[in-house]
Symmetry: C2
Subunit: 363 residues, 2 copies
Amino acid sequence: MTVPSSSRITGPVRVVGAGLLGASVGLGLRARGVDVLLDDASPAHLSLAVDYGAGRPDDGSVEPQLIVVAVPPDLVARVVLAELAAHPDAVVTDVASVKMAPLAELQAAGADLTRYIGSHPLAGRERGGPISARADLFIGRPWVVCGRPGTDRASISLLESLILDLGASPVEMATDDHDAAVALVSHTPQIVASLMARRLSGSTDAALGLAGQGLRDVTRIAASEPELWVQILGANAPAVVEILHAYRDDLDRVLAALGDVDASGARRALAEELAGGNLGVSRLPGKHGQDRRYSPIVVLVDDRPGELGRLFTELGEIGVNLEDLRLEHSPGAQVGLAEIAVLPEHLQRTIEELSARGWRIAG
Amino acid sequence: MTVPSSSRITGPVRVVGAGLLGASVGLGLRARGVDVLLDDASPAHLSLAVDYGAGRPDDGSVEPQLIVVAVPPDLVARVVLAELAAHPDAVVTDVASVKMAPLAELQAAGADLTRYIGSHPLAGRERGGPISARADLFIGRPWVVCGRPGTDRASISLLESLILDLGASPVEMATDDHDAAVALVSHTPQIVASLMARRLSGSTDAALGLAGQGLRDVTRIAASEPELWVQILGANAPAVVEILHAYRDDLDRVLAALGDVDASGARRALAEELAGGNLGVSRLPGKHGQDRRYSPIVVLVDDRPGELGRLFTELGEIGVNLEDLRLEHSPGAQVGLAEIAVLPEHLQRTIEELSARGWRIAG
């Protein structure tokens, strides 16, 4: 755990828009000693972000090496155009969650796009604004870089250096592939969750009192800001509509089956929809983005200080790395379940060594 | 954390069906010293549950005071009928997640229902079977009791004693209200999640590599067993269909708006759907069974053997017990985030001691 002693980029980096993402970029760069020049249309946002240590107000006295445009999706093209014009030597990127629409707008405006590269960090929080900003917001997260034919390689390298300095992983992807991907993994889930949550509005407290973790998980992201999401969905509408149509076709099949569950084939149709869900969720990658699956082991852990520490110390002694971990603990219980995941080739040895050391393995 | 010294019910309690719920009822009652008589159509399930300490095989030598029927929804009515006939002095309950359909079946069969009370503990896990059973499965969870006009008050009290002995909270609810409530908080979310997960099947690994916690949360319950869910959904179809129709109406409004986002009113329609989701999710009550909240701390952990062990060992040295833990790790990252939860009164000291030992605390 070494504290970073230097940055890959030399700076200064100009950050336009001091909300959650912009201020987090600023905080992360400042932690590495990079000079960050902040700008925001809102003086209140700007001074808050400066107070938080995300950079200093840009007084125009130095020219930035790289500009990060972190404004709402609807404003991206306009601001990028202005930045390209005002800073003729700087590389400009934006961090909006849609990439086709701003690019089309920039192309329509006849902008010289050799110095512009759209990008998108897959990071965020339900709460927005500079006060939610974190220097570590991007650590370990993918950050998509949408190079195009003719994009200057040195500009891409500079952007990748920024991404690496912030602890994220650069992922190259074509602009249209990016928008199709986020339509699936982010935009459609947002709609699905919001519409489910909307059904709760008219319900009774007694019914909602029966809610468990399942409903909470399904609807958690429904707490997101409508204003921002109208912009995102509006800017990626065709890709989202395509997925939503397929979703509605499945929904209609479920409705037809539930409308007459005793009809021939109805239960089978339901089972197929549910099994399709099993298959889909199993495709979500675990850590490391690898295709191989990890083997779970459930260990019983007494509920007292140091027990988990002993477990993980001994796993370290055995020489096994944890690929994933989940602790389950119920209020009032004397024992918890630590579900650990190891590489399949380590499974047998891990179980044997843990058992030999007196750990109780469940299931 | 006192060990219960006695139970409210005297027993014996007969449990029919030694799966997750039945075996958990057995374990919970055995922990209070209640005599539990187990039965299961599968000898393998039965002996496994006995080995786990969930009770003893019912040899018919003693008469039960109370019978808990914990079989799949499709079998409930048939088994309840048989139990009422075989044990003329016992109160009989079942724990299935739908209550109207079995009751209708029992009434159609002309059963004497004065000794039968349908009930439903809102507890479960993604994995079923006796090996997933836990004595603490019901602690802090609501357990719905569906009394009917004419139900014997003493029978209800006996059932409530069982529920309290298992650490759950009895909630009286009319049978139809129960089924409408679970259609909303459990059955519809299952469909919504499964259909979203189904969309992932045909996607590329590159797209799925961008998935974040939002998609994971929305689709987590899509891993549930199709066989069980076909039974549940089939038995509660009318209530689920009503909600799904309203859901589809909203979905159609979203599709219409996204089909022409620049049309007059389109963005407003989108915003209203999303704001409706905000409102709905805000109505969900806080966590069940926990009167105090825990304070989260996010610690950065290098991805190598022994690092988590070192963290937990040092937490043990500090003398702090973990109340909850969640590990977050992104594809390709060299560092993970361990979100640990401690009692609020330990928060400040834990942060100070961990920082002093060189751990990086995020946020």
